[in-house]
């Protein structure tokens, strides 16, 4: 009599209902989480700073409590020496972001770890020691972007092609990269050793040992 009843868990209708409820339930949970996440990653929040953060020094420092490196917004240090309003900064970063899309950066590089693996990750490229020192970094980056094919930063014969990036686009891209380095990425990339950004103030006598090497890309 009850063979079908005994096998209710193997019946078509049970699994049809389960499929519907599980899907709907998961989707509802996702929607709730999405509202919260979108709120937290809107530019201007704690995790994703406002675009005017490019007016400040940005560092990447180990945090004891969270047990990984986190971005630290430092003293005022405007990009290209010019302090921007929030609107100006947003426009500049947006121009840079559009440039990264129009030049198809993501099909060689990764941004926040997503993209292609033919060239280095750009998440913290603003903080990379290979730009030499913080004094020459901005100019180095602009020049590299405009004319990358013959530069020392290419390695293994892999060269970044000349993508016809104008000076305005290059400066905007640098602004975008500086802003991106301020995003709290939960410690990704791990163990990154940022460029020395300490002020060369004479008061601090005990300069870090890495100082003399700062002019050249650091070799491990």
């Amino acid at each position: 009599m009850s063979q079908t009843q005994a096998l209710w868990w193997a019946s078509e209708s049970f699994w049809r209902k389960t499929a519907i409820w599980v899907t709907a339930g998961s989707f509802v949970v996702l929607i709730f989480l999405t509202f919260d996440t979108v709120k937290q990653i809107t530019a201007g929040g704690k995790r994703v700073p406002a675009y005017s953060v490019i007016n400040n020094r940005i560092d990447y420092v180990f945090d004891e409590k969270r047990n990984f490196q986190v971005p630290v917004i430092g003293p005022e240090e405007p990009l290209f020496g010019k302090k921007l309003t929030e609107e100006e900064a947003a426009a500049l970063v947006s121009h840079g972001k559009l440039t990264t899309q129009a030049k198809n950066c993501m099909n060689c590089h990764t941004l926040l770890g997503n993209g292609s693996y033919y060239a280095p990750d750009l998440t913290k490229s603003w903080l990379d020691q290979s730009w030499g020192s913080k004094e020459v970094r901005e100019q180095q980056m602009v020049e590299f972007l405009m004319n990358p094919q013959d530069r020392l930063h290419n390695a293994l014969g892999r060269k970044m092609p000349n993508l016809g990036i104008t000076e305005a686009e290059a400066r905007a891209t640098v602004a975008f990269l500086k802003w991106m380095s301020s995003i709290d990425t939960n410690g990704f990339p791990y163990n990154f050793k940022p460029i020395d950004q300490a002020d060369a103030a004479p008061a601090v006598e005990a300069a870090p040992a890495s100082d003399p090497a700062a002019a050249a890309p650091v070799q491990q």
């Binding site: 530019a43 950066c105 033919y118 990750d121 020691q129 094919q149 975008f176 990704f188 990339p189 163990n191």
Partner: protein, 483 residues
Amino acid sequence: MAALGTLSTANLNGGQKLAVKYFTVAVALFGAQVLFGLLAGIQYLNPDFLFGILDFSVNRMLHINAMVVWLLFGFIGSVYWMLEDEAGVPVVGLGLGNLIFWIFTLAVVVVVLVYLLVQVGPGELKSIWLINEGREYIEAPRWADIGIVVCVLVFFYNVASTFMKGKFSGIAGVLVMDLVALAGIYLAGMYYTPNISMDQHWWWWVIHLWVEATWEVLVGCLMAYGLIKTMGVRRKIVETWLYIEVALMFGSGILGLGHHYFWIGTPEYWFTIGGFFSALEPIPLVAMVVHAVFDAGHHKLKSTNNPALAWIIAQAFGNFFGAGVWGFMHTLPQINLYTHGTQWTASHGHLAFFGAYATMVIAFFYMALQKWRGGVYMSGNLVGAWKWKWAIFLLHAGMIAMVMGLLVAGYEQSQIERAIGGSDWVAYFAGQSHRWFMQGMFWRMVGGWTFAAGFVLLAWDLMTIGKRETRPALAVQAEAAAA
């Protein structure tokens, strides 16, 4: 009616005539994927190759875009293939469907030509509308995005209204709901924001909820139909399994989205949610293996179409290993911190897309050819069977070599560049120049050439299989209802 073994559209119903058009373009685009993959692979070993003409970024974009589009064409074709059969009535808007096919194909040609000839544009919104959106997998410019949505809506209308007019089977129900989700999710990728975290947050809605949720359910539907067709598995069993798969797939896959939200600026609670649910993601894939292998064993591997059955079985295993095992290997945040954005991902991507999706579409190519040639014999001792057997072997051998080469490179990269080096510019090149990385890339290339040979053989086989066969197809051995 044409003689048995002769290719004739008179053998096909309306939906199937449209399906074979989609299949033809799909095979051509599959070829393009292989070609541009080879070029990009060569550039890893010889960076000067085509430098300044077809840079890596262009080849890689074409490689992955050709893949997305050929699989979409394959899926649309497969659904049109089964539509009339499953609904029991002719496709409702066939004329419109045909028109859309030509528009879609033309749009793809234009997009590819722009990718090849224009490549990049100035950093303005105009470039994103006309040339290239610069976002991995969905690079297609915005005008094409809108075109894709229109095409998919027409396709959806055809599918839903045909089922509504005829029979609305369990497969039909799952398929229609899945297509709603598939089309809706694509909209999440169609906007511009300067905020890269927000950008990637919604971008993953498209990428993840396509390939790790809705596409998986779509191939579940195709497999269900395929098992009924090639082996006569009872519909009740197939559909019950389909519901189980949907429950497990969406139950793990929807919140499994969280494993892409570890490092892009999104909050820390995604560590727990993403880690937990993505760890469950292999379970439905195990269910699919059990389902396919059990049915095949139950029918003693007797099928009406051996190549199709072989590819269905390949799908079950490829999906499990590529999406399930390879995905799980680096899905937990504790390991993903080091593997995120390395060749691990490439290794996983290759095996998963091939194992889960390419295989199923190829199975449908074979089912289509059988009927296209008038219901020709395709079981044991098929004339010229060496071709399909060698094709499936070479494609798998090539794929496994690529996947293993990339995996070794990925292991090395996550250790040298990530864990030790700290992921900066110098560490990146320290990882890339390591001997083990270069060896991995070499073997990937060997795998790439092997795969390309397999593709050529597959294309040749698809053009010729059943041509000299004079026997009619075996009848489907339907299971006794009371079994």
